[in-house]
Point group: C2
Chain length 677, copies 2
């Protein structure tokens, strides 16, 4: 056992004690706790039912359960559920520290039980009528997340943030684009609608000039806050000085002019606009490309900004791309920063992107700023004191060796400056699927995307506007999805209540995962030395959080394709195989690929050099598939299990992993199949 290892083990002990009650545990150590809670609240549900019109008596008679047909059905049910439970024995043991694969870990007991109980009540958070309790909780979850990021959430704050759950980060990302598009192209519709009905409200908007005096470029480059203010100015003027018929006619004209009505094609054609661009780092999740397709914006307008040697968005490249768009008078719908990439857990410099935004805003060029923190969002809790203030960098660094780097610290600190954030409670919130979330800095954006459904949202006879907090209870009007499980909201809400989103709550648990990653990273040098002459190991990108990848190449091999065969053969040992018992697996990991098409040249040079691969074998279009490849297959480790540092025999699971990897490497080397293409 290395010194470093025992050091960190002892340093982590209080935190390990801290997490003991929260999970069922790798050996179901807390099984009684879980069962007691489930049974107690299952019965509570049953007796709740019995308290609703008890005078009605029984619909299923007391004797019914003895009837042969009833018993037969019961037996079939049990057999089918037994079959389910038996099949699930082939499920992936996400809960165990030997699982270091995808972004799924054990479940926090409070969230899990909340989910199970609430499922019995089956509320539908599409509207308050179907979820009087959990819908309010969902909005509170939105506030908890917003507060963690540093957004204002008081009703009298302006802007005031809001957030809600989605089925996952993918849908939250779509919502970001949808929100930006709705607001960004509103000004032009407003102007066109006014022209249509011959209405000019007088001086309005940030420049306090006639609506008709704004140029298209000016309207396209209003910030979200300015667009909201402009709309209010116009509405105020209209209400004060004009009769209702004009109001109706004007509202209808604006609606007809909106991009939602005309479609992107109709709108861009009408205003002779170049399609807007969305800029993401080349390490962004594939849902961004999918979103551009789904929303009809087109992947050709998704600009992938190159990354630096930390796999973070390179600000100089971002600047170039923004300059290019500005010169071409092309609106930038959004720049998307990653807070924890799916592949490497790396963090884009959100602060630098926000600086860039501010500077351009100063000269009348706007860009929406969204952060895809599906993975890393909850790590903000590590930086947040229980009183809501932000920890100093030194305070955060206590107990770590590298974390947080300056960039990482400043990136998290800059979150309150962005327009919206995606975060996945079903990842580092340790709650069951499905639970993603979308959080927006200014809740007034919902006015731009509202839907109406006669059967869900009462039109009312009232003309006085209701408080925003109240209208948000018609949640289905403001989100991409419709029906949605209140049980997910309950799970996240209860989790946030018992493990608050600060450094003494959830942050304490998450620190363990970052520490595990540091120890993994620091021990790579040892394992490199141990495997010298057999394989070369390389960590392509220094970890920013709790994910780490590893390239592994036979010592004398120079062919990218051969390395891929070798690495795949290694990975085969840590791969989930549905047809074999999970018990045969010692460790379970995941993989990713570095693509020739997206990896910057200098990064490719560095990584190929470290692995002693011939650059000529790493090509966009391989000519000789036996030697050449368009990607590098690498091992990927998600270190989110809290028990990684406290393995059997007083050694960490990371040490055990290295031992095991050595055996596998020897095995695959000896087999030699990887040599043949």
């Amino acid at each position: 056992m290395s010194d470093s290892d025992s050091d960190s083990d002892s340093g982590s002990r209080p935190d390990l004690d801290f997490v003991q009650p929260w999970f069922l545990g790798p050996a179901a150590e807390n099984d009684r706790l879980l069962e007691d809670l489930v049974v107690e609240f299952l019965r509570d549900h049953a007796y709740w039912r019995r308290n609703f019109h008890p005078e009605d008596g029984l619909r299923i008679s007391a004797g019914a359960r003895h009837a042969p047909a009833f018993l037969d059905v019961q037996a079939r049910m049990r057999a089918e559920l037994h079959r389910l439970s038996a099949s699930l024995k082939r499920a992936v043991p996400f809960f165990h520290p030997r699982y270091v694969g995808h972004m799924t870990g054990d479940l926090l007991i409070p969230g899990l039980v909340a989910k199970l109980i609430t499922t019995l009540y089956n509320p539908n958070n599409v509207s308050e009528e179907a979820a009087p309790v959990t819908l309010e909780w969902e909005l509170q979850v939105g506030e908890q997340l917003a507060r963690m990021f540093g957004f204002a959430v008081d009703d009298d704050a302006e802007p005031c943030a809001w957030g809600h759950l989605t089925s996952g980060g993918t849908v939250a990302n779509y919502e970001a684009l949808w929100n930006f598009r709705s607001v960004r192209f509103y000004g032009l519709a407003l102007q066109a609608g006014a022209r249509e009905v011959g209405f000019d409200p007088g001086p309005v908007g940030p420049a306090q000039k006639e609506l008709s005096a704004y140029t298209a470029w000016e309207l396209l480059n209003l910030s979200i806050d300015d667009t909201i203010a402009l709309r209010r100015d116009v509405a105020r003027h209209l209400r004060a000085h004009h009769p209702p018929p004009l109001f109706h006619a004007f509202a209808a004209a604006v609606r007809a002019e909106r991009i939602e009505s005309l479609g992107t094609a109709g709108f861009f054609l009408k205003h002779d606009l170049a399609p807007p661009r969305v800029l993401v780092s080349s390490s962004a999740h594939y849902s961004w490309a999918k979103g551009m397709k789904v929303l009809g914006l087109g992947t050709a307008h998704l600009v992938r900004v190159a990354v630096d040697d930390h796999m973070r968005m390179a600000v100089s490249h971002l600047r170039d791309e923004l300059d290019r768009a500005e010169e071409g008078r092309i609106p930038v719908l959004a720049v998307v920063g990653m807070l924890g990439t799916t592949e490497f857990g790396t963090v884009d410099p959100i602060h630098a992107i926000a600086d860039e935004r501010d500077e351009r805003r100063g000269r009348g060029v706007e860009l929406g700023l969204h952060v895809d923190a599906a993975w890393g969002g909850y790590l903000t809790s590590v930086f947040r004191r229980p009183d809501g203030s932000f920890h100093g960098q030194d305070e955060v660094a206590e107990g770590f060796r590298h974390f947080p780097s300056d960039t990482v610290y400043r990136a998290f600190q800059a979150l309150p400056r962005v327009d919206s954030v995606t975060i996945d409670p079903h990842k580092l919130g340790y709650v069951p699927y499905p639970a993603g979330a979308f959080v927006a800095r200014n809740r007034e954006v919902v006015d731009f995307i509202t839907q109406e459904a006669a059967y869900v949202f009462d039109l009312g006879d009232e003309t006085t506007p209701r408080p925003r907090r109240e209208t948000l209870h018609n949640l289905g009007q403001y989100i991409l999805e419709g029906s949605k499980p209140g049980a997910a909201a309950a799970a996240v809400h209860v989790t946030h209540r018992v493990l608050p989103l600060d450094s003494q709550g959830l942050g304490r648990l998450l620190k363990l995962t970052v520490r595990a990653c540091e120890i993994f990273y620091d021990s790579v040098a040892d394992i490199q030395a141990r495997l010298e002459g057999r394989v070369r190991l390389c960590v392509p990108f220094e970890p920013d959080s709790n994910l780490i990848c590893l390239a592994v190449n036979p010592w004398d091999n120079a062919s990218a394709a051969a390395m891929n065969r070798f690495a795949r053969a290694v990975f085969a040992h840590m791969k989930v195989e549905g047809h074999r018992p999970v018990q045969v697996k010692t460790f379970i990991g995941s993989y990713t690929s570095l693509l020739k098409s997206t990896l910057p040249g200098d990064q490719a040079h560095r990584i190929l050099g470290g692995l002693r691969l011939d650059p000529d074998t790493f090509r966009l279009i391989p000519q000789d598939p036996a030697r050449e490849a368009d990607h590098l297959f690498i091992l990927r480790h998600t270190l989110m299990n809290p028990w990684l540092l406290a393995g059997p025999d007083e050694r960490s699971y990371i040490d055990h992993y290295w031992d095991w990897l050595e055996d596998v490497v020897d095995d695959v080397l000896a087999g030699g199949e990887w040599r043949q293409g």
Copy 2:
């Protein structure tokens, strides 16, 4: 008790016995059954954990649970869960026959337990690596649904159907549009890509002519099957006669020319196309308008086809709209038929729409055909024999008085002719949220919407195509969402296994709901007579399935606004109020509105006449809100509870409902507040 009532009660007895074991029940009659199953399989899960590397020992020590800090956390957890359970006492009693509101009922025990158990394992159906068991089950669910609709699902069938779960019907509807758009504009991209690289594959496609010889209009009007065949023809020719570099160059050129790449704006501009239209009946769910916005197609291009006096799409109007599009050379992306509208449960004449499609196809004009069966999809099981064949109309009609009408019967019969279907297991499948589904007649459509994610979907070194059944296991590549709960798949799968999708399985349960609706409908005459002189009652649209609406107007009132005030006051008695105990409610219903803007004139005339309302008080823009309204507020009843026909005191809950409604009506009439605007 009326004769009709006792008749049906006794007629329903065997079916009522049949459903007894399936639900927890209105008084939690089957509480022991549920608890036993949950505890048994909860333990099975715990001991599964203990069988994964038992040699590792315990991570949470046996003594840990006695430590004060542990006990403290445990107490906080319990307190918080108690708070949750206490709050949920204000949840909506969906499970009870006194709940006739939204489309939510009690949960089938097998699906519920499957959901709870599987949540412990928390599989993620984004890919097989995270869900070795439940992903396969999700695809099987897709097949079960496809088979129920009458699609072919054998691997060697061409086309072969597929389906998968979504978070709900809304997302399934988006997928329908997304699929149509992807396939429909592929031909043009293929032709443009070929032109780009100077490649002509020779005679291809349905006309077996040069690709370049197809006109844009021809390519835009290829069916899904023809587009798939065209793509195959081209690929086959390319592989057989050309070297790999051309293949890569051509593939890249086609990709760049696709609407997914160019965006809708860029694509339509480039090809000088009018934006495509989507036709839905004016009774369609609001998610269709939302979908047009989200996908960037624009609500201006969503054509709302008028309905007939059964609230079904009027085929003559459909024909007019299709003619108009054809004359303008505007592609019709899709016609969407409703199989059970959200507001009235009415069924569009799918057969007539399909006939229309076939006829136009004959002259080279294509329209995608999607059925939004979020509500009514499962009713297909009533028509399906266990052997898979379709019941004759007379057989289905046994035990009913009206159901199925000719239109309804033929509409369900025509399902195999459509391109895709939306269905919500979390509605008439009686499983917990979230569970929607999208089913497509031809699974090869997935080739057109595929995504690639390096870290999830291994690029492999292989060049030989894998069988479709296998590639579908990379589910995340082919769907709109990303991470998704395997627990939902387990719930639906187990439900379908124990209650097969035919007239002897789930259909038997659903028949009870349709029968309840018929009895409700038939008893309206009685209640009209009873309330004569007090209020006028009117069922605006004869029910097609198990939903029924009721307009109620004070006897002498002629003002739409006053009727709305009255009806809202009545509804206030059956409305969920989050701040009051649910126990105070006798019945819980829902409401909807008939909008002046979408209700056809002749329908408005008929309904206003029946209620003796002054047509002048029903206006698009009310001038005097005290008298005039732009909508009619009506009561809506979803009759999906199996125990509606077997209420207390040997009377149905429908009889109890009428008694109660009479009291409420008298109460509100006496109050008189509805008279004042």
